[in-house]
Symmetry: D2
Subunit: 81 residues, 4 copies
Amino acid sequence: MDIIGDNAKQQLLSVIERIENREEAKREVQEDIKDIYLEAKGVGYDVAALRSIVRMRREDPAKRAEREAIIETYASAVGLS
Amino acid sequence: MDIIGDNAKQQLLSVIERIENREEAKREVQEDIKDIYLEAKGVGYDVAALRSIVRMRREDPAKRAEREAIIETYASAVGLS
Amino acid sequence: MDIIGDNAKQQLLSVIERIENREEAKREVQEDIKDIYLEAKGVGYDVAALRSIVRMRREDPAKRAEREAIIETYASAVGLS
Amino acid sequence: MDIIGDNAKQQLLSVIERIENREEAKREVQEDIKDIYLEAKGVGYDVAALRSIVRMRREDPAKRAEREAIIETYASAVGLS
DNA sequence: ATTGATCACACCTTGC
DNA sequence: GCAAGGTGTGATCAAT
């Protein structure tokens, strides 16, 4: 008999395989997202700008407004637009 | 009329919403993965070690063996391990 | 005699120690930067906003203006300020 | 008069410039490190393996031994080396 | 003190 | 082949 028994091995394998299953799903979703960006790029969109928009829509509007107000204050002070 | 027409707006919104839809799916899968690790931790597994195992299983065995052989050569030379 | 000779070992050690020497210098500089941010935070600055400003000043002004113009176009189209 | 006074502007600029000064130093050190790796690569070293060695030497030996023991236990259980 | 979240670093893949 | 962007990982910070 080994250091760890067959039951333990099976339990460990089960955990690992469940993770691998979800990681595979994740890779597929990532591929989907990448494809949409590539398709958008193909019809003329700027991918980096699209990513910015998606990020902005994810944020809480109030938090975003506050954050941008502070940045704007600092930016004006140092002559950055 | 605006700089960009209604059709363009609709097309842009469509792209963005398709991305957001897949990002939501991605977040759910990431949550699943995190939950499995937490559950494993709850029954005594070392999460960092689990992550190492999952990473090792992802790699090509031949590549991994070669890489580890080189590291071992260097490690011996400098008295590590 | 080992797989690799004493000369090879010395050469390898020399490479490693030169890297470690510069990594130590890097850690010190990183500590400096962190301290400045912490000090600024202590007198009331918003650290995240400061980081944004520093990043903006790093960028090429022309590139930044162009990028922000595109983002603004998209943002208007989808009703994001 | 602006939202923030000249003193405040000067203080802000001072903070930013101190950060930028250290960031420039950091970039130089990073360049040094990169150059050493490239030079090593030029005389036949495997850069990824070198990085592993440097990382291993940074770690606490006891911690590293413990971590590797756990990984090895899991790896054996699932038939990985 | 431990845990959760945030952030910067390193790695790796992808595009040029 | 290099440069850049994205992802994953490790560290650091705050909060409980």
